[in-house]
């Protein structure tokens, strides 16, 4: 078994040290180690491989916009070793067969562990429970259930879902959007800008009121709730209150909600159309503070590829969503590390350790210690790069960061000892 030595690397941004990889595990951490192949990692950081709780891979159904292969490549290039593939595919991942198919395809491609998310309700209808038990007991061993894209708005269904997943140690990941307060047409943060631009408003309270209800339901059922893509300061307050009372609630924030504000909608460019919508700067500040103090547990990309022809419409009629996998770490570096809100150990916690724990993803988000699985990412924190949509691995180009120069670059990604990415490119061909 040949070994690879990362010489002079900084685990979690700490003091430089040598890390030896052998087989699928970390074989040594210390000074003056030697290996069959030596990589000079001076100046580079070593983090546990990133884990995304919220990825849209679009397969099956919209393979013209993303496939499990292209999405896996984007994930690996972004430093991820595990991603959760959302259930709103066509057909919907609401049964054991579909989730097994997605997991199997992910394993075949082998660039990243693809963990399927199961639908909460059959066909995402919000009416009756999907076959949650069958998905949990399947070979895909689903542990995260979500109707993401739609809110489980019916209180009774939400209660039942929270209760029903308990035997499986699973979590309900809620897309918090009261459809009576923010319907399908709602597309812009309700405030002075939406009023002036004449865009249908998506008020903060439509998210906050659902989160407030759901934390009470989680408390009542003593079950686990995860709040997807938190976007408002009010939601942060509710989460802080619930956590203070010991409710088993976790939450995620997207990179785009940590950086972009609703002012960008002035252009009416649908590249900035996302659900929940971009919010004002006060919300962005509150989200950063909440991620820093742990009220928000995780960063999740909500990577949502869309074809150009689904975005080349009037703002209100274009598709919701933006790419995120390849830019996530850099956006977090800019908004959280660059501002002093988090150190790199904190980034590892929010982008790997905690999401792995929430999704019950074994072998990921582990400490960088001897004997641990070698799921790692090597990052150059000093390097900058400029986002070019066409150069991204995704089959779609809908990144709101096009043309931006961002800090921190993924140098290599390691999945169970195998380099899925080395020197910025996917090591293996993926478009087979």
């Amino acid at each position: 078994m040949s070994s690879i030595l990362l010489r002079g690397v900084a685990p979690l941004g700490g003091a430089p040290i040598d890390v030896l990889l052998e087989g699928d595990a970390i074989a040594g951490v210390g000074a003056g180690l030697s290996g069959d192949e030596v990589i000079d990692a001076g100046g580079l950081l070593l983090l546990p491989g990133l884990v995304d709780l919220h990825t849209h891979l679009r397969e099956p159904g919209r393979e013209d916009t993303e496939t499990i292969a292209s999405g896996s490549a984007a994930a690996a290039l972004g430093g991820f070793t595990a991603v959760h593939a959302m259930a709103n595919t066509d057909p919907v991942a609401d049964n054991a067969e579909i989730v097994e198919q997605v997991a199997r395809r992910g394993a075949q491609i082998g660039l990243v562990d693809v963990r399927p998310v199961g639908a909460v309700s059959k066909g995402l209808s919000g009416e009756t429970l999907a076959e949650i038990g069958n998905m949990a007991r399947s070979a895909a061993a689903v542990r995260v259930f979500s109707d993401d894209g739609r809110c489980v708005h019916d209180s009774r269904l939400m209660r039942r879902a929270l209760e029903y997943v308990k035997p499986f140690d699973a979590v309900i990941a809620q897309h918090a959007q009261d459809p009576r307060l923010a319907d399908a047409a709602a597309c812009a943060h309700e405030g002075p800008l939406s009023g002036r631009l004449g865009l249908p408003g998506w008020p903060a309270v439509a998210e906050e009121s659902i989160v407030a209800r759901d934390v009470m339901l989680a408390a009542h059922t003593a079950s686990r709730l995860h709040v997807c893509h938190v976007s408002t300061a009010g939601t942060v307050e509710v989460l802080r209150w619930a956590k203070g009372r010991g409710v088993a609630v976790t939450a995620e924030v997207t990179p785009h909600h940590l950086l972009l504000t609703c002012d960008l909608l002035e252009s009416y460019d649908p590249v900035y159309k996302v659900n929940p919508p971009l919010r004002p700067a006060e919300d962005v500040d509150a989200l950063r503070a909440a991620l820093a103090d742990g009220t928000i547990d995780a960063v999740a990309t909500d990577h949502a590829p869309h074809a150009a022809h689904d975005k080349d419409h009037a703002f209100a009629e274009a598709a919701f969503g933006m790419l995120g996998l390849q830019t996530a770490l850099s956006i977090v570096a800019q908004t959280m590390v660059g501002t002093g809100l988090l150190d790199w150990a904190g980034v590892a916690d929010r982008m790997s350790v905690r999401p792995a724990a929430i999704g019950r993803v074994a072998g990921h988000g582990a400490p960088i210690d001897v004997g641990r699985p070698a799921n790692l990412v090597l990052v150059d924190p000093a390097a900058e790069w400029t986002v070019e949509p066409a150069a991204l691995a995704s089959k779609s180009g809908n990144t709101p960061f096009a043309g931006r120069t961002l800090p921190a670059r993924v140098i290599a990604t390691v999945l169970r000892g195998r380099f899925t990415v080395g020197d910025g490119a996917v090591r293996d061909a993926v478009t087979r």
Binding site: E190, G191, P192, L193, S194, G195, R196, L197, G198, L199, G201, P203, S267, Y268, D269, A308, H309, D310, D312, H313, A314, F315, A316, E317
Partner: protein
């Protein structure tokens, strides 16, 4: 000025020039032969993604009296229902050799987006609940006809402000021309963030019309209330709306004798406006329609022939 997308695109000088040009254009309307030659050989396409008889006809007549070839393209439902992107629809029309696009769309911002894709001038004939700049110009033209200068004049705009592109464009243009605006609506029909707009607001129509709220009113503009707003629960019944916010004969008496009553049409008689108000001596509703053609001639002329002397 390449496009006219928002009333905010107009400086005071631009607006005054267009209104002055429109006055010359209106003289043409009284002639036996109404055609002027300046846009001969130019093609103007009225690209309408939403039904509109009056705005489309007004633009069509305006273009024809300037000797342009005017083509009406009804693209209602074409993009999405056929699976075609808006961009493809618009580039297809432009590729036929178009000199200007007059666009009406049901979605806010659609016209601004179209202007980014095409190279010809684009004129916003109403985009969703955003803006309708030529309506604001024809309203200003009509008001000038009745009130003389607009500086320091006070205009009340009453009705569904939230969903009104007419109100948005009027607030911007009247402000540019130095007038004061007060918006009147129930709280459910006031847009988010209206407090940051350059105008006053009130929930009390009687207080505004009597001058008690924000000073004497020189003109009142009643907005159409879409009946489908009822299903959105914005107000309980038509009856209650009419009692609270309709321009009844009694309310008409609160206005000065000379204060004109405007309405962009089509009117819901008995809902937002009584027949006495709509047909009475203060009503300038038909003047607005007439002004519409003149103003649109002036705008088409400005965008296609550029600034300068009008060959009338």
């Amino acid at each position: 000025m390449k496009n006219l997308l928002s009333a905010a695109d107009l400086s005071r000088e631009d607006a005054v020039e267009i209104l002055d040009t429109a006055r010359r254009m209106q003289e043409v309307q009284t002639r036996e032969v109404k055609k002027l030659p300046p846009l001969r050989g130019r093609t103007v396409v009225n690209l309408f993604f939403e039904d509109s008889t009056r705005t489309r006809s007004s633009f069509e007549i305006a273009g024809k009296w300037l000797s342009a070839d005017v083509i009406n393209v009804s693209a209602k439902g074409s993009s999405l229902s056929k699976g075609e992107s808006l961009r493809d629809t618009v580039l297809t029309v432009e590729a036929m050799g178009v000199d200007a696009l007059v666009v009406r769309h049901h979605a806010s911002g659609a016209v601004a987006r179209i202007a980014q894709w095409v190279s010809c001038p684009v004129l916003n004939a109403g985009d969703g609940t955003h803006e309708h700049p030529t309506q604001a110009l024809l309203d200003a033209y009509t008001l000038r006809g009745r009130l003389g200068v607009l500086a320091d004049r006070h205009v009340a705009i009453v009705g569904d402000i939230t969903h009104s592109r007419v109100a948005r464009s009027n607030v911007l243009l009247l402000r540019t021309l130095g007038a004061r605006v007060t918006l009147v609506a129930p709280p459910t029909l006031m847009p988010a963030g209206v407090a940051s707009w350059p105008c006053e607001t009130s929930w009390d129509l009687d207080a505004v019309l009597s001058g008690k709220a924000h000073g004497d009113v020189d003109a009142v503009m009643m907005l159409r209330v879409q009946r489908e707003r009822m299903s959105g629960g914005y107000f309980p019944t038509e009856r209650e709306y009419a009692i609270g916010y309709g321009l009844s004969p009694e309310r008409l008496e609160l206005l000065g004798d000379q204060a004109p009553v405007l309405h962009p049409g089509p009117m819901n008689r008995g809902l937002e406006i009584s027949s006495l108000a709509a047909d009475g001596p203060r009503s300038v509703v038909l003047d607005q329609v007439q002004a519409g053609v003149a103003v649109r001639m002036a705008v088409l002329y400005r965008l296609l022939a550029g600034p300068g002397e009008v060959p009338v």
